[in-house]
Amino acid sequence: MRYKVLTVDDSKTVRIIVKKAFKPYDCEILEAANGVEGLAIAAKENPDLILLDVTMPVMDGVEMLTKLKSDAALKSIPVIMLTAEGGRDHVLKIAKIGVRDYLVKPFKEELLIEKCSRVIDLKPVNEGPAKAKSILDPADILVVEDKPAIVQQIQEGLKQTPWLVKGVSTQGEALDAITKQTPDLIIVSLSLPEETAFTLFRLIRTNVKTKYTPVFALVVKTETTQQQQAQTLGFSAIITKPIDVIDLEAKIAKAMNLDTSNRYYATEGQVMVMRLPEACSPAAMAEAATYLKPKFAEAVDAGINKVVIDIHFLKSLHMGIIKLLFQAMQTCRDLGMHFALVGNPQIVSECKGFEDTRGWTFYDSLDDAKANLGKNSAPQLAGALS
C-alpha cells in the first residue's frame, strides 16, 4: 500500500525538504500552502498522515487542526506538527487539540522520517521483487559480538563470498555503523552483557532504515532459553555456536532472498553447466531442484541446447542425488536438449552398483563432455535410464 502524506506549509522550501526526505520511501507527497488548501486536499485525498505548520497566511495550522478534528470524516487522520512555534505553552495548547507528534524547526530529515515511521509503516521504494540480488553480488554484514575470535571465524568462513563482514563489539558501535551505512544483514550475539542484544534488536526494528533488515541471533547451542526469547522477539534466524559456516551462508542467502542459482547453474559459451557441490546437503539439493526447470528453460530460450551435468565434486551418491539427476535428464529430454555427465571414479563406480544408474556414461572432464556433446546421442541415454 502506497501511503499518502500531506505537507501543509506556506514555505515551498519546507515542502521541498519534506519531499526530499520521503523520496527513498514508497509514499506519495501531497502539498498545500495553507489551512484552506490543506483541508480541501485532506477531504479529497484522505491522506494517511498530515505534516502541519502553524504560521501560515489565509488559514493557520491551529485553525486547520481544529476544523480537521471537528470533522467526522477527517478527525482520524494523524497529524504531526512541523513548525517553528515551539514554546512550551504553545506546544501544550496545540497538543490538547490532538496531534500525534510535534517537531520543532529546525529539523533533521532523519528525525522527521523517524517520527513519521512511528505513525505509518514506511517502506523503502526498492523493496520487493525488483531488489532480488544474486549470491554473486556484494553485501554488507554487520556482526555485533564482543569476542573477536567469533567475528574472525565468521569472516574466515564467508571469505569465499563477495560479502563484506564487519565486526563491532558494543551497542553504541553497532548503532554508529548502522547510521553510517545500513547493512544488508545484522548478526547479534546474545552473549553481549546484560540485555544488550535484545535492546539492540528493538532499536534496529524501530529504525525505519533497518526495520526490514534480517537480524540473526548468535547463541551457544545449549542456551535454549535465550534461543526461545530471540524467536519470540522476532529474530530472523538463530545461529548456534559452534558456527556451521555452510549453514550460516545458506541462512544468510535465504534471509536476503538472494538468487542462489549461480551455485548450481552457469552458462559457459554455448553450453549450460549444472554443477552439484561437494557438500550436497538436502537443502542444497532442494535449492538446485527449485532452479532446475527455469534455468534450463532460460538456456533454451537463449538458443542453448546442450547441458553438462557435472557431479565430479561429489564424494558419494545417494538416492536424493540420483532423483535430482533423473529430474535433470527428464527436463533435458522434455526441452529437446543434449546432455552429458561428468563424474569421478568413485561416482562412476557407485553408479554401477544401482540398477537404474548402471547404464550411465560419464566423461572425465568438463572439456571432454563439451567436446563430445551432440556427437554421442545423449538423449538416447536418458531414454535408456527412464
Partner: protein
C-alpha cells in the same frame, strides 16, 4: 506560568547566538561563529554593503513585540539554499530568485522561531509573523525611535551574517 525573566542584552545575545548556530548547523551543515568584530560594532550602524544582499525578516508579537532581520550576502544565501535543498549552482540558476527568497525566508523563520521560543519559555508569550524578504545593494534599514536595537555579527567561512534585532519597548 513561570515569572517572566527580564529581557536584557545578555539574554538576547544568548538566544540569538543559539538560534543562529543551531538553525544553520541543522539545516545546512554550516555553523556560523560569533564574529570577533561583534564587540567593536556594538551600538554602531550596520555597515552598508556594496555587494548584493538578501535580508529575511520575521516578527514576533504578543507579550513581547519585535522584529529580526537576518542579513546575508547573495553568495551566502545561494550557498545556504543549495545546501538546504540539495541543489547545485545550475539548478539554482534554473530555479530562479524565488527559490532563494523562500529558502532564506524559511531559515529566518526558523531562526526567529528558535529565538522567540526562548522568550516564550522565559515567560514572554508571543507568536511569529509571516516572513518577508528584502533584496538589494547599498541599502540600510533604520528603526523608529521607540525600539531598542541589538546587532550581532557572525562569520561562516568567507561569509558574514548579521542578526539585527529590534524589540519594542514597553509602553
Amino acid at each position: 506560568m513561570p515569572a517572566a525573566t527580564e529581557i536584557n542584552e545578555p539574554l538576547i545575545r544568548d538566544f540569538i547566538t543559539r538560534a543562529v548556530t543551531h538553525v544553520f548547523k541543522t539545516m545546512t551543515g554550516r555553523e556560523p561563529l560569533v564574529s570577533a568584530d561583534t564587540e567593536a560594532l556594538i551600538g554602531k550602524p550596520i555597515p552598508i554593503s556594496d555587494r548584493p544582499q538578501i535580508v529575511g525578516t520575521v516578527g514576533f508579537i504578543g507579550e513581547c513585540n519585535g522584529l529580526i532581520y537576518l542579513h546575508l550576502d547573495l553568495a551566502f544565501a545561494r550557498l545556504c539554499t543549495g545546501l538546504l535543498l540539495g541543489m547545485n549552482e545550475v539548478e539554482l540558476d534554473d530555479a530562479g530568485d524565488e527559490v532563494v527568497n523562500d529558502a532564506i525566508g524559511e531559515l529566518t523563520n526558523m531562526t526567529v522561531g528558535s529565538f522567540k521560543n526562548g522568550l516564550c519559555d522565559a515567560g514572554h508569550s508571543c507568536k511569529l509573523t509571516i516572513p518577508s524578504i528584502l533584496r538589494g545593494t547599498n541599502f540600510s534599514i533604520e528603526p523608529i525611535s521607540s525600539v531598542t536595537r541589538h546587532s550581532y555579527y557572525f562569520e561562516c567561512g568567507n561569509h558574514r551574517l548579521v542578526a539585527d534585532i529590534l524589540i519594542k519597548q514597553d509602553d
